[in-house]
């Protein structure tokens, strides 16, 4: 039977590290560690002696790993070489997902692939979650501004909520803008005009 792989995930954001680790747990009983601090990276890696290191493509500490990869002799074995050289498709998928992998030379491709596949899937999922969360937040924010703009109109013009919204929407259409933009402008103007 193959021995357990030692996998290190370098990720300062715990929210992001957790789903990646979960994803890796699902593919087998591997020894998985997270390194979150940026300083002393070389020392931490040397202590863990990992088979595979996973790190965000854009993490500045990658440049430190590159040096370790080049410096590692056969006996030290911290990390030896970049993304698996044999599979161009997998490499591209990893780069697109925003992940880079450092793999000890000589590790069999059939052992690397599931790890990378799992990591790539989780990175994609995390990116999607982040985008969805940001969209939800923005929608919520817009909702609040529109409610405030409606309140301003209801008070100033003595109209009901429905009429206020209709007025906002008509103005937005006439100006070729979004309702939220018009609402934002109205709230800003109302703030300037009220001399409190």
């Amino acid at each position: 039977m193959d021995k357990r792989l030692s996998i290190v995930v370098i990720e300062p954001d715990p929210e992001r590290a957790a789903p990646i680790v979960d994803g890796l747990r699902e593919i087998g009983d591997h020894d998985i560690r997270i390194i979150s601090e940026e300083t002393g990276l070389a020392r931490h890696i040397a202590e863990c002696r990992p088979d595979i290191v996973l790190i965000d493509l854009a993490n500045p500490s990658r440049d430190v790993l590159e040096e370790l990869a080049l410096a590692s002799g056969p006996t030290e074995r911290p990390v030896a070489m970049f993304v698996d050289r044999s599979d161009e498709h997998l490499t591209r998928a990893a780069v697109e997902a925003g992940i880079s992998a450092y793999v000890v030379d000589g590790l069999r491709p059939d052992r690397i692939k599931p790890v990378l596949d799992a990591a790539v899937a989780r990175f994609h999922m995390f990116q999607r979650m982040r985008a969805e969360l940001a969209a939800t937040r923005a929608a919520l924010e817009e909702r609040k501004v529109i409610d405030r703009a409606k309140a301003v109109l209801m008070k100033a013009r003595g109209i009901d909520e429905e009429a206020a919204y209709a007025l906002l929407r008509k103005t937005a259409m006439d100006q070729g803008k979004r309702v939220a933009e018009i609402a934002q402008q109205l709230v800003l103007a109302a703030g300037l005009l009220s001399c409190r």
């Binding site: 300083t39 040096e67 080049l70 780069v95 697109e96």
Partner: protein, 390 residues
């Protein structure tokens, strides 16, 4: 006519200026291009994204495509350097503690005499010296090894990779005693009271090529028009940048939130060559601290590919002769001539030369008329003779 989008990666440093200026001042649009600039966090990221085709071109450390050519990186499609973006722009800094002991022993921080500074550093740090550089294949590493090697530091010298934004932290944490990094990161460490500037890169080597514009070879072959348009836009931006009166404006543009995101005053120091060398506020003026155009600064001499290849090969146990041969094929003087001739770039007669031979700027014969070459001497008089390049 709609503009053709091109995705370009850059790492936030003052020498990304040609790409940013080409976009902001319309040099790209003039060539029918829309630059989509992606700010990157690591040099390895620039290389990998370029290799995977997620960007069309990258702002890259000049020795990186050399290392790729020697097989010292991941397996990626061929990467070619089509022009230099900048020369100089680096500064060497020492920790506040080292600076204090050097000053006690009489060093005056003239920010120019590399031999004097090296010997003073040796006296102040007679044992081990740990120096941070931004990448394993960088001009900074070559400058440090060359300079300190000539000042008697081998083998007590330990050169380690530290990402530029972490240089100051790693000095504060006692992990490095000195570093060599591109601006604005050296000035930033001075401002935080953690370091003093000892030398500009140009005091060690008068014209150290620092960043290059790197493309995939298959792109230069399948898209010659776009390649030419890109090179001309960037080349014109460099020409604009080397008008001294434009450097303040450039600092304003670069410092914006979407680019370097720092105070304009900090970017201005490197761009104008007026650097504050100590936390006490001492200013030193270095003409030509960073060059983007003047003196044929953009011409990708094959002899410089050979220079870096020889040094990298020797450190990694490779045969220097074939390494130099391989690297020279990746510095595309042919594309430079083909695409920039019509834009009016001065073109030297040869594509390789003796490196380090010019103590002063010199007027030489060009393809048409005369041209001025920047001084490129090493502080210790080293001259590098490349293998014959046809």
């Amino acid at each position: 006519m709609p503009l053709t989008p091109l995705r370009l990666g850059y790492v936030p440093l003052i020498d990304a200026a040609p790409l940013i200026v080409a976009r902001e001042l319309g040099f790209a649009a003039e060539e029918g291009l829309e630059f989509q600039l992606l700010r990157l966090g690591a040099w390895a990221q620039a290389r990998d994204m370029l290799g995977a085709g997620l960007i069309e071109a990258a702002h890259m450390l000049v020795p990186m495509p050399v290392a790729q050519a020697l097989g010292l990186g991941p397996a990626l499609p061929d990467l070619d350097l089509v022009m230099f973006l900048s020369q100089g722009g680096q500064a060497v800094a020492v920790s506040a503690a080292l600076a204090a002991s050097m000053r006690e022993q009489g060093h005056d921080f003239d920010f120019w005499d590399a031999r004097k500074a090296g010997l003073a550093l040796h006296r102040a740090a007679p044992g081990r010296l740990r120096v941070g550089v931004p990448f394993h294949f960088s001009t900074q590493l070559e400058l440090i090894r060359h300079w300190l090697g000539a000042c008697g530091f081998d083998p007590a010298l330990e050169v380690v990779t530290v990402p530029p934004p972490l240089m100051a932290e790693s000095m504060a944490a006692g992990e490095v005693d000195a570093f060599c990094v591109g601006e604005p990161w050296a000035s930033s460490a001075v401002d935080r009271g953690l370091a003093a500037l000892l030398l500009p890169g140009t005091a060690i080597w008068a014209s150290p090529p620092e960043k290059g514009l790197v493309l995939r070879r298959d792109f230069t072959e399948s898209q010659p028009q776009l390649t030419g348009a890109l090179m001309r836009a960037v080349w014109r931006a460099g020409r604009w940048l080397d008008e001294p009166e434009n450097r303040d404006t450039a600092a304003e543009i670069l410092s914006r939130r979407e680019y370097l995101d720092l105070p304009a005053e900090l970017a201005e120091r490197g761009l104008t060559g007026r650097l504050q060398v100590t936390p006490l506020g001492e200013i030193r003026h270095v003409p030509g601290f960073v060059a983007f155009h003047a003196g044929a600064a953009n011409f990708p001499w094959k002899s410089l590919a050979a220079f870096f290849a020889q040094r990298i090969a020797l450190r990694h146990g490779l045969e220097p002769a074939p390494a130099m041969e391989k690297a020279m094929a990746h510095f595309r003087t042919d594309l430079y001539r083909r695409h920039l001739r019509e834009a009016g770039a001065a073109l030297p007669g040869a594509s390789a030369r003796l490196e380090g031979a010019l103590a002063e700027d010199r007027e030489v014969a060009a393809e048409k008329g005369q041209m001025i070459l920047r001084a490129d001497a090493f502080f210790d008089g080293t001259v590098f003779e490349p293998p014959f390049a046809g």
